[in-house]
């Protein structure tokens, strides 16, 4: 029942927050903050109740199953296990961060902004919780239009171009998934005589290898674009360079969470053989993506674009972990999803803070900030170090597990991908050098971190450090993923 409340609170909060902004923007913001915080508290309560005792449960820890459209076999079916719990927590945590960050940054159409924001979070939660593939698709598409608005209304100069590009990429790939989903639905009907979108039922669908491959590719298209992976990534840098910092946090961090989750939850268990067949290609693409994006990140002059390419590089590691076919690597992939969302998200926030002070995203026109905003600079340094995979911070654990797992199966791939970690050093250090070090040419006299910024970034830093030094709780929760998780969990 609580699972239903999670979504209901977000959607209701969004609907209420929209008109309230007419009375006072503060009302709208407070409602949004209340909604996401309430959700976070609810999930924390669930986590403490069901996951605290260290039992290795076999089923879903929480389940909710209502008939929605029985004629078509569509259910309103939610389930929560260790994997989804972790990512739901992460999503809501970053959603709170996004609302708080938007507090000052968003001044126009405040109500509509929060409506869209909450709807996106609801969509992501729907993806993370759905056990009915129609409901899953519905949630997947629910994110799309609000995100389009977030980019095209609160973005920078070329926001319309960026928003349309985002929309076309995700919409087209989403359509491919819809076709694949329907094909799976009818294939299941043909072999069993039952119309159903139930995850549990579709798991055992008999498919010819060709059919499985084509259907799998349809799903993969949507997931690969949204993650995004090389060579379907070009919408992300464009979108990130135009959207606001909080939007980027959601766009790059949270959408990637939902796409990576969908691969682990749906792609691997539904089509194990087809995934196995295609995995060499995906592994090569992942490694190319890691190196390619590192070089491109190194060359960017727009801060947000730089971070976007850094994000693509980390997601290349996630892809590698998912398709390496190894338990260590897969767990590393989950760890990287979490750590990436925090460290890259934080870098976007840092870039937003810089932009707010110097009114530019161009790395060349910043420079020498350490003189005037040492705290902001120090914080940025920490997140840049997380991005380059410094041990002791969360990203390292994930990438190390991915690489050590990949090594068991593909030695050369692991070796080349390890060079990707080295390449990450190039852009991370360039970012630090160009933005913060060097002489203070502009004679900036800027205010250092405001209490709210310090609080947010400080919390994110503590979480990264915790993930880097004591990640065991994450792996334990993950170990409690349900039986239906990919065979590699066990």
């Amino acid at each position: 029942m609580i699972l239903g409340w999670l979504l209901a609170i977000l959607i209701a909060g969004g609907i209420v927050a929209w008109p309230l902004a007419r009375l006072h923007p503060l009302l709208s913001r407070s409602i949004a903050l209340l909604a996401v915080t309430l959700d976070l508290v609810l999930v924390l309560y669930l986590a403490a109740r069901d996951f605290g005792d260290g039992n290795t449960g076999t089923g879903w820890h929480q389940e909710l199953d209502w008939n929605w459209i029985p004629q078509f076999g569509i259910h309103f079916h939610f389930g929560l296990d260790g994997l989804s719990l972790l990512l739901v927590l992460l999503t809501l945590f970053l959603a709170v961060v996004a609302v708080v960050v938007s507090w000052d940054d968003i001044t126009t159409a405040v109500g509509f902004y929060h409506f869209n924001l909450l709807l996106i979070v609801a969509g992501i939660l729907g993806v993370l919780l759905s056990l009915d593939l129609f409901l899953f698709y519905f949630s997947w598409e629910l994110m799309l239009v609000p995100m389009y608005f977030l980019i095209s209304i609160w973005g920078r100069e070329r926001r319309v171009y960026a928003a349309i590009k985002f929309f076309l990429f995700t919409q087209l790939s989403g359509l491919l998934m819809l076709i694949a989903l329907l094909a799976l639905y009818f294939a299941h009907y043909r072999s069993t005589g039952i119309y159903t979108f139930e995850y549990q039922d579709l798991l055992g669908t008999q498919l010819s290898p060709q059919a499985a491959m084509w259907i799998m590719l349809g799903f993969l298209a949507a997931f690969a674009v949204k993650l995004p992976i090389f060579p379907f990534h070009t919408w992300l840098p464009d979108a990130c360079s135009e959207a606001s910092a909080a939007t980027n946090l959601i766009l790059a961090s949270l959408m990637a969470v939902s796409a990576a989750y969908a691969m682990i939850r749906f792609l691997l268990p539904l089509f194990p053989d087809a995934v196995h067949t295609i995995s060499p290609i995906m592994i090569v693409l992942a490694v190319i993506g890691i190196l390619y994006s590192a070089i491109l990140a190194f060359s960017q002059t727009n801060l947000m674009r730089l971070i976007a390419y850094a994000s693509i590089g980390h997601l290349g590691f996630v892809m590698l972990g998912i398709f390496a076919g190894n338990a260590l690597a897969l767990r590393g992939a989950v760890m990287t999803i979490i750590a990436h969302a925090i460290s890259i998200g934080a870098l976007f926030l840092v870039a937003g803070s810089i932009e707010k002070r110097v009114h530019s995203r161009e790395i060349e026109s910043i420079g020498g900030l350490w003189d005037t905003v040492p705290r902001l600079s120090g914080v940025a340094l920490v997140f840049a170090l997380a991005a380059l995979g410094l041990p002791g911070l969360g990203d390292f654990i994930g990438e190390f597990l991915i690489l050590i797992g990949t090594y068991q199966a593909h030695i050369a791939v692991a070796a080349v991908a390890a060079c990707g970690v080295l390449a990450a050093t190039f852009y991370a250090l360039r970012f630090v050098q160009c933005a913060f070090q060097g002489p203070n040419h502009h004679s900036w006299q800027l205010p250092d971190l405001a209490p709210r910024e310090a609080l947010i970034l400080g919390v994110l830093m503590v979480v990264l450090l915790w993930l880097g030094l004591y990640p065991q709780p994450v792996f334990e929760t993950l170990g409690q993923a349900a039986n239906h998780a990919p065979a590699l969990w066990r």
Binding site: A327, W370, P391, T425, F426, L429, Q437, Y470
Partner: protein, 621 residues
Amino acid sequence: MLRLLWLVPAIPLVSALALAVLRLSQKAVAWLGTCSIAASSLISLLVSISFVNAPPVSGAYTQVLWRWFDVNGLRPEIALYLDPLSLIMMVVVAFVSFLIHLYSTEFMSGDDGFGRFFAYMNLFVGCMLTLILADNLLLLYLGWEGVGLCSYLLIGFWYRDPANGRAGRKAFIVTRAGDTAMVIGLFLLFHELGTLNIQDLMHRAALQWSIGSTGALAAAFLLLGGAVGKSAQLPLQTWLPDAMAGPTPVSALIHAATMVTAGVYLIARMHVIYSLAPQAQFAVAVIGAATLLMAGFSALTQHDLKRVLAYSTISQIGYMFLALGVGAWPAAIFHFMTHAFFKALLFLGAGIVIESLDGEHDIFRMGGLRKELPVAFWTFLIAGCSLAGLPLITAGAFSKDWIIWGAYSAANGSAGLWVVALGGVFLTALYTFRMIFLVFFGQKKSQVTRMPGPAMVVPCIILAFLSIAGGYVKTLFSNYLGTVLHWDSTVTHGVSFGENTSEAITSLVFLLGASLAYMLFLRRRQWAASMVSRPMGNLLHRFWLSDWGMDWLYDRIFVRPVVWMARIGKGDLVDVFYAGIGRLNEIAWRGMSRTQSGKLRWYAAAIAAGAIVLIGVVIFS
């Protein structure tokens, strides 16, 4: 007492955090930053005393703090491991760090980054101690990357000058290139042996791998990659001379006494693997021998006082690698210790000299400082003699003699390596006394503007004492470390003369080098000048001055291609494809919208033409 071990790395780490977060006055920073290291070295001393008095039954003490993570058989712990090897490293590092921190309180006073400096330095000490005490390779790697980070931060400490930032990035990236090999070595070890715990690895390697097996070879070479990066050995030595951009205490602590010897420690720690991979171990010896000669030649030509010392460091670590490579493990660690004392002292002395001359680095613009800076002169002289290996008295002579003897007599030793090591002694004496003569003797060329205070002088005197006294604990090393590192001083391999003969020859070579320096750089300066002015001499001089052209080479084969790729790839070539699709759509749209001209006769004609085509298709198909 042993249970206090965790405090040794923890105190500097916590104080680093405190220094980074809190806003303190300069005085408070100095107290906190120095006292934390003092506390850490005091505890390390207490722990050591109790370890030596009542050694654990197994010969080592392990302290598990918490389990890092536990995933499918990979279960590293945050755990510390104390045995004679890590004990000696820990005590030396903690103590030298304390002295250099004390020195820094005065050296850095007035700098607007005072708090930042001590935060980085404390973080460094914490990471270095973690590296030394780590009981598994993953934790060691954490410390390893941590010290690399601090090195980067401290080289670029004066960040307003972009050149310093460049030097810092170069150091970080070059060492990380080595670390990439090392981390792949970690994957290999885990894959083959199923653990990352160092003692378990040694144990299993000995059981599973035969001598010269592929696994052992690959692992040894990959770890060697990390070691040559961190210890600035061939072919990754290019970062260390540039690292001198950092404040002088940083050069003393990180780039002379402690961090750069981490590679030596790693190989000594993993010595079982190297014993199983004779070719890799021989490579260590060859790298050491080649590096000590090359860096010695480069040191001869430098003008910058700190760069002379940097090349000297590279060269001395080459000796340590040579010792490791021939299998004289304790000799390498012994030389690490004496080198930590005298090289730290040389840098601290150089700091005093440079500071007193308002930041003058060029040794050709110094001179005659013997009278003006007596303490600096005497301590520098003692350290220089120790570096060059003044026989019978100085610590450096004891440790170097041992290595030279090992190069000949140890398991993998040979006459060739012995000769190279002797050549190194000659070069060392030559460049050391060149430096001493040019800086402290001859004519006065610059005015002394600042005298060192007690916080700078006291550490120098203590280190000068250690640069002499440190040599008399050799037996402790050979007996105590011998058990851990499986080394027996009485065993020699195919020698035709004894240790005393080798030492006598070494002394002779030292005298030769020192007197040549005396001739060239004190009595007959014009000789040196005329050698350089000849075409051949000039060419060699330039070649050695530029570190054998390796920077130039790396710039062309690594740096430029990456920068070039980045420049042409900036706009994301993949996007050209998508933009092309967009263009195509636009063209199609233009073409189609042309037909919407609003002219009725065009529409009628189009309808008629379409109808004819359709009818034609129906009839003729």
